[in-house]
Symmetry: C2
Subunit: 256 residues, 2 copies
């Protein structure tokens, strides 16, 4: 089993290392920026290639871990090879984007990857999909060597899952950043709020978030909401967010 | 040192138990709902009282752990006693709400409390404030026996901190709930996204959230944002939130 990795960003890097640890050598690395390809290739003992057309004929699996809007173009430039499986790693790109090829699928790791942050890949949920049963079985075998948490998810559900991830991860982190900014404005160290963030996540590990909502909006405490909106008068972006979120939460919990 | 606890909700319960563990007996418990007072009193070996006026003259510290909009009224009903310290535990209530008394202050625990969730109180940040130095010193001594994380925060900064907590905890949990709802709509188990939530919080423990933002809006990936908004067409509340948050994130990161 020989693998070529197209892309050298966060997902390509974490996935390449996990593949090697699981006994699947990554033989070739391509990236639009050749320096990134050389860098990743040197880290994992692979060869870097300058052109997509240089993907070797003996490569069994080609993984496109690239920006979503580059997947179609790169898939189209990749030479057809009937024995090869072509995969992408995107949450919101339909499997059919790869349908120029004969065997294709999706390996979507549901996690937030950052440079210089080590992750235990075996704990990362991998969502897989393939265009036929043989390819799905092959992908399933590989995925199960990488992670203990492999699920079959079709393209429609995967996009819904990606949106869920944007709310749960990206938008939440944005709110942690708002907290950071509000606190520096009052000369308060961000450390002060870290236990609260940790506990908020810990509660979501054991309970359903919908069942453990707290705060002024949950209590429909309009006095406190009003005071907060007054203090945010000089920061219209935050005021608008605070008002909209509070209104939604009040509505959700007063109806139930 | 004898303490009376006015209130029998989540904060009153967790704080009473922490006080007792730290060697400060809670002698009396009052609650608007006498059954709740009896219940908490029996858990902590205190006496329940039916009226605020029954707070004993030998009580040194009275803690108002009640709903924000009840603090003023309860403070006014509480008999004046020159030697006594009167405290509230609210994030967004000014210390002056208690200024009918001679010695008064605030003990605000920055944490989310739920029934049936045990917390290590020694790790909870306690924000304290008092109307004079003697009272502050007394409060500081008690707070330091309860927690390793005691900070002086005045009423203005405390309200700002409370707003930060609403974003970081209440609004984030609401987004975890949106993820939960989106996933059940696709028959996906919420377990699938729990590692992502945990990792999002873990990153905030070590890094500044503003520096580790990820996702389509951070990358200004308008194709993905557009696909997500299309999928959310039938859920206008979520679509509005997604659009507003994405727009704010794009703006924040394209400016920097």
């Amino acid at each position: 089993m020989r693998i070529a990795m197209l892309g050298a960003g966060n997902v390509a890097t974490h996935l390449s290392k996990a593949l090697i640890n699981a006994g699947f050598p990554v033989a070739q690395v391509w990236s639009r920026n050749i320096e990134n390809a050389v860098d990743l290739a040197s880290q994992i003992g692979a060869n870097s290639i300058a052109k997509i057309e240089e993907v070797s004929t003996d490569i069994d699996i080609v993984i496109l871990a690239v920006a979503d809007d580059a997947i179609a173009e790169i898939s189209n430039r990749l030479p057809i090879n009937a024995d090869r499986v072509v995969l992408h790693t995107s949450g919101s790109t339909a499997i059919d984007t790869l349908n120029k090829h004969q065997k294709f699928g999706v390996l979507y790791p549901l996690q937030t990857f950052s440079k210089n942050t080590d992750l235990d890949f075996s704990q990362i949920p991998l969502c897989i999909e393939a265009n036929d049963d043989d390819t799905l079985n092959q992908l399933n075998l590989i995925a199960n060597r990488l992670s203990n948490n492999v699920v079959f998810v079709n393209s429609d559900s995967r996009m819904r899952l990606h949106i869920a991830a944007v709310f749960a991860c990206n938008f939440s982190n944005y709110f942690f950043g708002i907290a950071q900014d509000l606190m520096s404005g009052a000369q308060l160290n961000f450390d002060l709020i870290r236990p609260l963030i940790q506990e908020t996540a810990s509660k979501a590990m054991e309970k359903k978030p919908v069942d453990v909502q707290t705060g002024p909006a949950k209590r429909n405490d309009q006095n406190t909401i009003k005071k907060h909106l007054e203090l945010l008068e000089s920061e219209p972006t935050l005021k608008e967010l605070y008002a909209l979120l509070s209104q939604n939460i009040v509505k959700k919990y007063s109806e139930s």
